[in-house]
């Protein structure tokens, strides 16, 4: 039985049009911003810290803590929303932006107030033109109502007007822009290649000014926290490490793919697939699940009782990441599946770090040789060796991500590789 829960991020399941400002305000929209403006910026940061909200883009870094790193110095500070949603299997931020643009805008406004930002950016992947148009329309509504831009109808706790402008900026097709320093480079008009850190963006980010980069879903959580309070937020989820709601993307071999907003830590992966996803269309058992798009280790079917939160998925040998669950039934050859993921990372490597640039190319060539039936047993050792050379040796996480499916599939489904290289027959595998 699906659990009893009233969604707050996507409260209109099935809706395809954007919620208007009037509709949003009718259900309590922008009350969170008004509450925030009655507090000092530090108090707002403190509330978000106390809520336990963690970044929903993948890394899971505590949001309030990130805001607190911004130094209190004069001059421009920037808040940048990472809406470069490009992880395969991930389509949650798209729904928020297309249907609930005001929730994101309100979150941006609250975050901007907390860090002292007067110009925020929403960096959207280039393909999401509908999301861009709808956000621009929602921003125009806010400007007309005096919530954004000038003159402002809102006053800060110190009595001065609250002034914020938001620019929607569309990228042009590059997965690497999901990495926060590459995104900043892209916004600055340079090739989007990750920066060495330190300095971290909180100190020297966009235009070398203090900058906070937060994911769309992260910012969409903020209005509720400021409207209803920390206790109400913490009542959702599984404190202390897993507070609040999470949008779980479900795709692949399920009858009912889609976005499902649920409290963290309240259901198991098996319940999610069977009760929400309707099980596999083929009726075949689940063979494995990718929980964070194609960037985290595959979860074996023996781990389907894992709880759906940061700790539960970690305990199952993987990571929650963007919570994008790709289900694969027993018909899937994991060597083939892994080859497709490796092709993605080879295509998307920005080329800056040699281990990633060369390594993903080696992985792709070796994988495709195996999938084409031309592989040898030594190729399996080559894959493991190359993965070791990439992991931990690159400026950003793309290199590590590229190795996840390879390492986990070799560990959990080695027979699929042995069949491909002719060391085992498919009937032997089936019999096992």
């Amino acid at each position: 039985m699906p659990i009893d829960y009233q969604p707050i991020l996507l409260p209109n399941p099935g809706r395809t049009t954007a919620v208007t400002l009037a509709e949003y305000e009718k259900r309590g929209g922008y009350v969170g911003l008004k509450n925030a403006l009655e507090k000092t910026p530090d108090e707002v940061t403190g509330v978000v810290k106390d809520s336990g909200l963690k970044g929903r883009g993948g890394a899971g870094f505590p949001t309030g803590l990130k805001w607190s790193f911004v130094p209190k110095m004069p001059g421009p500070k920037y808040l940048v929303v990472n809406a470069d949603e490009s992880e395969p299997g991930t389509f949650k931020d798209r729904d928020i932006m297309e249907v609930e643009p005001h929730t994101l805008i309100e979150g941006v406004a609250i975050g901007s107030y907390a860090i002292g930002c007067e110009l925020a950016f929403i960096y959207i992947r280039g393909e999401y033109t509908v999301a861009g148009d709808r956000l621009n329309a929602a921003i125009a509504e806010c400007k007309k109502a005096g919530l954004l831009g000038q003159p402002s109808t809102l006053k800060k706790a110190d009595g001065t007007p609250f002034v914020l402008d938001i620019i929607v900026f569309l990228g042009a097709g590059a997965y690497i822009c999901g990495e926060e320093t590459a995104l900043i480079e892209s916004l600055e008009g340079s090739r989007p290649m990750p920066r060495s850190r330190p300095p971290f963006p909180a100190v020297a980010g966009l235009y070398m000014r203090p900058t906070v980069v937060n994911n769309v879903e992260t910012m969409a959580n903020v209005p509720f926290i400021l409207e209803k309070g920390v206790d109400a937020y913490k009542a959702i989820g599984n404190p202390p490490n897993n507070t609040g709601p999470k949008i779980f993307c479900l795709s692949g071999h399920v009858k009912k793919p889609g976005n499902y907003e649920l409290p963290l830590g309240k259901i198991t992966l098996r319940q999610f697939i069977e009760e929400y996803g309707g099980g596999t269309p083929s009726g075949l058992p689940v063979k494995g699940v990718l929980p964070a798009g194609v960037s985290a280790p595959i979860i074996h079917s023996s781990q389907l009782d894992a709880v759906m939160d940061y700790d539960g998925i970690k305990g199952a040998g993987s990571m929650l990441g963007s919570a994008s669950f790709i289900v694969m039934d027993d018909s899937v050859d994991m060597a083939w599946a892994s080859s497709r993921m490796v092709e993605f990372f080879r295509h998307e490597s920005c080329g800056k770090c040699t281990p990633c640039r060369e390594g993903t190319s080696w992985l792709e060539k070796t994988m495709l040789r195996i999938v084409d039936g031309k592989g040898k047993e030594a190729d399996l050792d080559t894959l493991s060796f190359v993965c070791k050379q990439i992991a931990g040796n690159t400026l950003c996480a793309l290199g590590d991500f590229a190795t996840s499916s390879v390492v986990s599939s070799l560990k959990l489904y080695k027979d699929d590789y042995l069949v491909r290289i002719g060391k085992k027959s498919s009937s032997d595998r089936a019999a096992e």
């Binding site: 490009s86 389509f91 393909e127 008009g189 090739r191 692949g252 194609v294 998307e348």
Partner: protein, 173 residues
């Protein structure tokens, strides 16, 4: 040939919009491509001049991003996602059927496949890039538009019919 007054005006507006003119380069390149269909060396130089940057900066960006084209492309591009979530629910079969319906001979293997109609009006691609529509798979992009839930032969026939109409209405390659 110079860019139209409307495009030049829009590029100037972009330059004025951001704290740094360099930020305007990517939007400016997209505006130029919208008018020209692709970014020739001459167009890249023209855009760089309008933004006030060295030509090399424009080349650096144009040669990196998947949505910027430094070679001439067909006026109608159809791009099927064949990354894992889509591939698991029949995206590659949908791509093959679409190629057949459009009479396109496909080249390449695995996650990178491409072809075009004989008149070069339509390009068909299978790509490993995910477009964030895995819950409505199989899907493709036709230009900037998403066409989702391509589950049946009738869905694909309708797609191909619409694509052919676009190709007829588009400027000749």
């Amino acid at each position: 040939m110079t860019l139209s007054v409307a495009t030049v005006t829009a590029i100037h507006a972009e330059v004025a919009r951001y704290p740094s003119k360099k930020t305007a380069l990517l939007p400016a390149l997209k505006l130029a491509q919208k008018e020209r269909g692709w970014l020739s060396t001459e167009t890249l130089g023209e855009v760089a001049d309008l933004v006030g940057l060295p030509h090399s900066h424009a080349i650096e960006l144009a040669s990196f991003y998947a949505m910027l084209f430094t070679e001439k492309v067909a006026p109608v591009r159809v791009e099927f996602c064949i990354q894992l979530p889509c591939a698991l629910v029949g995206a590659e079969a949908a791509l093959d059927k679409t190629a057949k319906l459009l009479d396109v001979e496909m080249h390449g293997t695995h996650g990178t496949r491409h072809g075009h109609t004989k008149d070069h009006q339509i390009e068909l691609h299978g790509t490993v890039e995910c477009y964030g529509a895995c819950h409505r798979a199989p899907m493709c992009r036709v230009g900037d538009d998403y066409v989702e839930n391509l589950k049946t032969d009738d869905d694909l026939k309708k797609l191909v019919g619409d694509v052919k109409i676009r190709a007829q209405q588009a400027p000749k390659h």
